[in-house]
């Protein structure tokens, strides 16, 4: 168990280190200018020198992405459950939800500014819009796939709709929902950044989206990479949190939390 956990951490860490080393060597050998492609060490140095600004920016972006993600989770699970429970709604609304996913956020974001104004609300709304569909779809798929035999048992015992949903449909769909949430976690960060591109405030507490735009303007490619790396960190943190919560919820009974050897992870 312990050795497996260590391997789980070390393997990707070694892969990252090798990739970064190869990148640094390639930059050194080719002599490519830093304004075109800075090396990881240069990026790390820039991130260190701008750590206060980048930290504040990351907090701003993380806040927008997290709030948007939480809203998307709430709406996605509730709406998904309703749609799954009512066949006519499923037939009527599922195509609409699919179309919602197809709408490019970059086209919608300016409208969000007009409706919600500048700053955090638009970034949150943008994060919500892109994060909602995976949760919705996963919830619907999870709840319509519940074992019919179990449903019949609930029916035989005269269980109410609420009881069946809270005791059977929702718990059974958790693995699906967690999968949807993992996808939504990354999308929420992307949505927040796009929202910031159109609505983020400049100044000392500018979010990562504005830092990226500003650095691009100043030809500071190293700072662009630094900000982008932090976007990835924010997304990864959300992803990790969702994965952990999901593991806690299903570890006792679902195969996804069980080692292939049969050992619980």
């Amino acid at each position: 168990m312990k050795i497996r956990s260590i391997r789980t951490v070390i393997a990707p860490a070694v892969a990252v280190v090798i990739a970064l080393a190869a990148w640094e060597v390639a930059v050194a050998i080719t002599g490519v200018r830093a304004y075109l492609l800075p090396g990881p060490l240069e990026i790390a140095r820039t991130m260190w020198l701008n750590s206060a600004r980048l930290f504040d920016a990351s907090i701003q972006t993380a806040m927008a992405a997290t709030i948007g993600f939480v809203i998307a989770t709430g709406i996605g699970i509730v709406a998904g459950s309703v749609i799954a429970a009512v066949p006519v709604l499923r037939r009527a609304l599922y195509p609409l939800a699919t179309i919602l996913q197809m709408v490019p956020l970059v086209a919608v974001a300016p409208l969000l500014v007009i409706w919600l104004g500048f700053g955090l609300p638009t970034a949150i709304a943008a994060a919500t819009v892109v994060a909602i569909f995976p949760v919705l779809a996963a919830t619907i798929d999870g709840q319509v796939s519940v074992d019919p035999g179990l449903r019949e048992i609930f029916a035989l015992h005269g269980a109410s709709g609420w009881t069946r949903w809270s005791k059977l449909d929702l718990p059974a769909s958790i693995p699906n929902i967690v999968t949807g949430l993992r996808i939504s976690a990354g999308l929420a960060v992307i949505g927040a950044i796009v929202g910031e591109f159109v609505s983020g405030y400049g100044g000392d507490d500018a979010p990562l989206g504005i830092v990226v735009m500003s650095a691009m303007r100043e030809a500071r490619t190293d700072l662009v990479f630094g900000a982008v790396a932090l976007c990835a960190v924010v997304g990864f943190a959300l992803f990790g949190l969702v994965s952990f919560v999901g593991w806690v919820l299903v570890r006792r009974w679902h195969s996804s939390a069980v080692d292939p050897s049969g050992e619980k992870s």
């Binding site: 200018r33 830093a34 304004y35 075109l36 970059v106 086209a107 974001a109 300016p110 500014v113 007009i114 500048f118 700053g119 796009v194 910031e196 591109f197 159109v198 609505s199 983020g200 405030y201 400049g202 100044g203 500018a206 504005i210 830092v211 735009m213 500003s214 650095a215 691009m216 303007r217 100043e218 030809a219 500071r220 490619t221």
Partner: protein
């Protein structure tokens, strides 16, 4: 127009369209030079614009329209731009021979190691400004920067720091410039950056009264600079000089008769009407040839650059923290004579 850094155009960079200049209408006005010999081999070069075709690039389109580039032995492909097209990086890395950039971008990228060199400065006066509703009581940069206005502006523009140092700007709310007028038209208090020859014209045509506070009083780098790279100059300086000469002649003709050339530009940019282009051309003429510096017939002032002007821009960029040192400003630009060697 470099000022129009719309994030959605940034995303739309992928849709950048190439224009084959040789396919353009070659119906030349009487002052057109001798057409190139059919057997003369032309040198292919690319000019990357930093915005969609508009009158701010009128001289280059006139040079194409009248075959002036071809007369100089050049086959010029004008590549349509977008807000996030990294023109300075493209030209510094040699992916295109020429690109339109802003003056400060030349110095900034050189400070980062880019071998970019300016060869032609379209705007002798900075065409950037702030667009306000005519009803807005704010009437100066100082009043604007000491107000609590919301300003749509591209993040990272150096003059923001200059204004901050001068006036504070603590109460301002700076938000990304959308490149569109929707928010401005809906909010009488809203202020946004503008290209003096673009948004004000658009508002005028829509019947909206506006006023402009020019930036040039506090930050006046050369605008819409055509740049190349050091390698191109070293390997093919005659070609660079020919390009500049043709561009200068193109501007001379464009400013005399913009209505002749604007339909060509409008075909490349249907979102701007010919009426707007004609108005913009009138507005930009004094910024390209300031009245104190000659007439359209005295072509020498078109595109010219001075060491002092570049040095002032460099010093301002150092002052704002964008660069740490002014560096060798004399290497940042190349003077090209009007007459061929």
């Amino acid at each position: 127009m470099k000022c129009h850094l719309n994030p959605f155009h940034q995303v739309a960079v992928a849709t950048t369209i190439f224009m084959s200049v040789v396919a353009c209408d070659r119906s030349s006005p009487p002052e057109s030079g001798q057409p190139a010999s059919p057997t003369k081999k032309l040198t292919s070069v690319t000019l990357q614009l930093n915005w969609v075709p508009e009158p701010e690039f009128g001289g280059m389109f006139a040079a194409v329209h009248d075959g002036i580039y071809a007369d100089e032995g050049l086959e010029v492909e004008i590549r349509k731009g977008g807000a996030q097209v990294p023109c300075a990086q493209l030209v510094a890395s040699g992916q295109v021979q020429f690109a339109v950039v802003s003056g400060e971008e030349v110095l900034t990228l050189r400070a980062r190691g880019g071998a970019i060199v300016a060869v032609f400065a379209t705007f002798q006066q900075n065409p950037t400004g702030f667009l306000l509703h005519a009803s807005n009581p704010i009437d100066s940069l100082e009043a604007l920067w000491t107000s609590a206005s919301t300003i749509g502006i591209d993040p990272g523009l150096p003059f923001v720091q200059i204004l901050n140092q001068k006036y504070g700007g603590k109460s301002l709310k700076l938000v990304p410039y959308s490149g569109a007028l929707a928010t401005f038209m809906a909010s009488p208090e809203y202020v946004q950056q503008c290209f003096i020859t673009a948004e004000p014209v658009e508002c005028q045509l829509r019947g909206l009264a506006t006023k402009v506070l020019p930036i040039s009083d506090v930050f006046n780098p050369y605008g819409a600079v055509i740049a190349t790279n050091e390698t191109t100059i070293r390997d093919n300086r005659p070609m660079v000089e020919a390009f500049v000469r043709a561009t200068r002649e193109g501007w001379r003709r464009y400013l005399k008769s913009p209505e002749v050339y604007n339909p060509t530009i409008a075909r490349m940019n249907p979102s701007m009407t010919i009426e707007a282009m004609n108005l913009a051309a009138k507005l930009e003429a004094p910024l390209i040839i300031p009245q104190s510096e000659g007439s359209l017939d005295g072509e020498s002032s078109i595109g010219r650059m001075t060491l002092e002007r570049w040095r002032i821009t460099g010093e301002q960029l150092v002052q704002t923290g964008v660069m740490t040192a002014v560096g060798t400003v004399e290497d940042a630009f190349l003077k090209v004579d009007s007459a061929p060697h």
